[in-house]
């Protein structure tokens, strides 16, 4: 079985799905000749032609709007937006159009579109290129939001997203694009949207995280004292998120720490903490803790690692929650 990076796993999924379904069209800035800003679409234009892997001008509203038009007509567009910050110009199309057509047309017009967006910090980029806006899109009924934390999940989730009948925002954590390799099956498979993954099982405390932060959680767990047993849940899908997995785990452990890169206020961590208190109130032995980015603009790279949740901050939260 090949050992692939997250970038290679996504590229493989795109190629295999395009091979199987001629209705799939990729469009975005530099996705063709250059293979994408992070080289995720490398080689696809040469293989599938410029009719299917389309270089577009720098025009996110136009890219997103055209992709929605393609989807309305029954094709399966996969627009790429180069950085999550560039979703700004496309926000109108995504939230006012794509998210609403199924409702607005009572199911007659649907948008089977997968929007691929590199997300998050940790690559020394300026702030507009390092944000974690997943909660904004999770807060938009009609959209699904996915964020893998491993090459295996990236391939399986992307295939699910492409085959999904509704619009999916597929966030790719750029910090772990090439951070590590793992075994990824050559054949096609799906990882279901809406299902979390228990990365490590444990009995004393539950950590819930997603995206690149999962790696920071694993690093923190390596530093834990022997006598604390921690369960780590990788959410994988931000919306619709797997409430059952979280509830089941926290009812077992009685303690919960949520880790996210995004600013603390009104993030997914807040939503998860609420779900925990709604469903696990009598099981809780300590208040739910959140380890998050700060309620500030994402800093430029010299301070970036202070902003992002790191192993030390996660460890501190886990220890204080365990000792409560």
């Amino acid at each position: 079985m090949p050992q692939l990076t997250l970038v290679q796993a996504i590229n493989l999924a795109l190629a295999q799905e395009m091979e199987a379904d001629p209705r799939i069209i990729i469009l975005g800035e530099d996705v063709g000749k250059n293979g994408g800003v992070f080289r995720v679409t490398e080689g696809l234009q040469a293989r599938f032609g410029a009719d299917r892997v389309v270089d577009s001008p720098l025009a996110e509203s136009g890219i997103m709007g055209s992709a929605i038009g393609l989807a309305m007509a029954g094709l399966r567009p996969i627009p790429e937006i180069q950085f999550e910050g560039f979703l700004g110009p496309a926000y109108d199309q995504l939230t006012n159009h794509a998210a609403r057509y199924r409702t607005r047309s009572r199911g007659a017009v649907t948008i089977p579109m997968t929007v691929r967006v590199p997300v998050g910090g940790g690559i020394h980029a300026p702030e507009l290129h390092s944000d974690s806006p997943e909660a904004i899109y999770a807060h938009t009924p009609g959209l699904k939001v996915v964020m893998p934390a491993s090459p295996y999940d990236a391939k399986g989730l992307l295939i699910s997203a492409i085959r999904d009948p509704d619009p999916v925002v597929f966030f790719e954590p750029k910090r772990i694009y090439r951070a590590f390799r793992e075994e990824v099956p050559e054949e096609e498979y799906t990882v279901p949207i809406g299902k979390a993954k228990v990365v490590e099982t444990g009995s004393d405390l539950t950590i819930v995280s997603w995206g690149a932060s999962v790696l920071q959680c694993i690093e923190a767990m390596d530093k834990l004292p022997e006598d604390i047993s921690v369960e780590l849940i990788d959410l994988r899908t931000i919306y619709p998120f797997d409430q059952d997995a979280i509830i089941e785990s926290v009812q077992k452990t009685g303690r919960c720490v949520v880790v996210q890169e995004a600013p603390k206020t009104c993030g997914m961590a807040s939503e998860i903490a609420t779900v925990v208190q709604e469903h696990c109130f009598l099981h809780l032995k300590a208040p739910v803790q959140r380890v998050c980015g700060f309620d500030t603009v994402m800093p430029y790279y010299k301070l970036e690692l202070e902003y992002l949740p790191n192993a030390e901050r996660i460890l501190e939260a886990v220890m204080s929650c365990a000792a409560y």
């Binding site: 509203s61 136009g62 038009g69 159009h97 409430q243």
Partner: protein, 370 residues
Amino acid sequence: MTSMPASAAPSPASGKSKYTLSAKLPDATLHKWLRDLMLIREFELKTMAAYQQAKIGGFCHIYIGQEAVVVGTFGAVNHDDPVVTAYRDHGHALARGMSARACMAEMFGKAAGCAKGKGGSMHMFDKPNWLFGGHGIVGAQTALGTGLAFAARYEYEVLKTGPKKVCLSYMGDGALNQGCFHEAQNLAGLYSLPVIFIVENNGYSMGTSIERGTTMAHNLCLKAAGYGIDAIQIDGMDVMSLYDQFKPFADKCRAEQRPGFVDLKTYRYQGHSMSDPQKYRTKEEVAKFQERDTIMTLSNYLLNERKSLSEAEYQKIQADVRDEVKDSVEFSENAPVPELSELYTDVYAEPMPNLSPSGEYTHGAKNPLL
């Protein structure tokens, strides 16, 4: 605002018809056009009345005065050519074949509406008639038109599953100033997509006259030239002369699979929306356009010049559309409101656990009116 009886209309200046292509169309086609124009006019009059009686919620934008635009341009293309438009969309829906009942019930918020009362006045969707929606965000629908044209060309050239199509992407003149429209034109020009951007240029974006809102208002075609898009200016007050000019233009866009831009001069007799004090124009200006009303012109041509329609037949059409619209209002008044469970339907293809704490997810039934 009903059209002037044809007998009172001025007779044509000369015996020789000024019309070219449209004059060669069969009587039945032109009579159908007249009926469509009159149906939209009557429908909009009753819409205004229902809105004033608070039977219609939300916002409401009336099409009266612009009817020739949809009837003439739709007449020049095929039924399976995709259409996307802005929020002044009742005329587009009716001219594309949506029933008056489905259109009116939608505005009443009733379950029998074209979108089960979930969309309202600005969001007329009718997929069987290739109408991909009215859209509320000014200019944003133009990129959807670009995408629909991309899909059409892809289906024709790559998948080989469809005919040569052309997409009609309507917009108001206010959309000229929105960024998305410029991205849409650039993409259409760049990729050579068969989309015609039809500016329904009624001279005002809400209360701002066009020359106060956009550059080159005297010659919008030059704007399109910047994107390598062929452009044409057409007077949109007379449905037959509109067709005469638009038909060859649309045929060329289809044949060459190229984009087009049409500055279609038209005029809305009513305010921007139902709550518009209209301080920005004079009654005299409105009257000047009403003198060239398309229903008056066409009925006059059919009755007095072409002599294909009798006075009795004209009165019959008038009575028929009145009945049809009256029926649509009565139908909408008596139609049931959507079930409470409709709050949870048609958000995603599959049920979602947390759409509502109590709602059972269901799929909406098909609308028999479409």
